[in-house]
């Protein structure tokens, strides 16, 4: 059942993105930025946590979960350290993804030549 939920959630998010791309003059960069801000916004009232419980991996893979992870780490750290924790914990949960992207693309850009 969770596979069905994952399919539906991720598909609906991508469908919204495609509709924005097709019917407005916004580019792919605008769409991903809008989705990150939306993911952070939905976490004010912990709405996105319910999506993660409901859809599992389907809610973890769209870029909205990047905003969700940012605010989640910040809040988690703010509980322990007070205000300064918001700054300390911002990248706690997303550090793995950002580091992996930097390291892989740096190493692979030496191995491969650009194709065009």
């Amino acid at each position: 059942m969770i596979y069905f939920n994952a399919f539906i959630f991720c598909a609906v998010v991508c469908l919204i993105g495609q509709i924005i791309l097709d019917h407005t003059s916004l580019t792919a960069g605008h769409v991903t930025t809008i989705f990150v801000v939306t993911g952070a916004f939905l976490d004010i009232f912990s709405i996105y946590d319910k999506f993660v419980l409901y859809a599992g991996g389907g809610a973890c893979v769209p870029i909205t979960s990047f905003g969700h992870s940012l605010i989640h780490g910040a809040i988690e750290s703010a509980k322990n350290n007070g205000f300064i924790g918001l700054l300390m914990g911002m990248f706690d949960l997303t550090a793995s993804g950002i580091t992996a992207a930097i390291v892989f693309s740096f190493i692979l850009s030496f191995i491969f030549k650009p194709k065009d």
């Binding site: 969770i2 596979y3 994952a6 399919f7 991720c10 598909a11 609906v12 998010v13 991508c14 469908l15 993105g17 495609q18 509709i19 924005i20 791309l21 097709d22 792919a28 960069g29 769409v31 991903t32 930025t33 989705f35 990150v36 801000v37 952070a40 916004f41 976490d43 004010i44 599992g56 991996g57 389907g58 973890c60 893979v61 769209p62 870029i63 990047f66 905003g67 940012l70 605010i71 809040i75 988690e76 509980k79 918001l86 700054l87 911002m90 793995s96 993804g97 992996a100 992207a101 930097i102 892989f104 693309s105 740096f106 692979l108 850009s109 191995i111 491969f112 030549k113 650009p114 194709k115």
Partner: protein, 144 residues
């Protein structure tokens, strides 16, 4: 006058077909993600929260590798948002920036331009997460 001329000669895109493809590809990405989480948590015997980290790293690696091999740009043209919105789009934007500016050298090329496309996601994500996190911390104490 000019606008009607432009509209007349603009190539007609099949919006419905684009949207159906994005819907299906996005859904398949969700299924792959959930399957990877289940596989990792079964093989490595870890909770699914940790397995989702492994899943994201795996998808980023696949996205980077396919971009290097030159497949990804062709697939993105067909699938549209189905591959841009998932985390593979983030990996693709960083990898293609690194490849494009590789000839300008290691420091001024790769180092300075890697975040050229992906930077906006991180900047807006961090600023909005800070503001919304402040709101949530002040009004709810992070309780919910």
């Amino acid at each position: 006058m000019y606008k009607s001329l432009v509209n007349k000669h603009k190539p007609k895109e099949d919006y419905l077909k684009n949207e159906v493809i994005a819907f299906i590809v996005g859904g398949l990405m969700g299924i792959i993600a959930q399957a990877l989480i289940d596989i990792y948590s079964y093989i490595l015997n870890i909770p699914s929260k940790d397995a989702s980290t492994f899943m994201i790293v795996t998808l980023i690696f696949i996205g980077c590798l396919l971009t290097c091999l030159g497949f990804f740009d062709n697939i993105v043209k067909k699938c549209g948002a189905g591959l841009i919105v998932p985390i593979t789009g983030f990996a693709h934007s960083m990898m293609s920036a690194a490849l494009d500016f590789r000839k300008e050298g290691m420091i001024n090329g790769i180092g300075a331009n890697m975040f050229k496309l992906a930077g906006s996601v991180i900047v807006f994500g961090v600023v909005s997460a800070y503001i919304f996190g402040l709101i949530r911390y002040l009004f709810f104490g992070g309780a919910i």
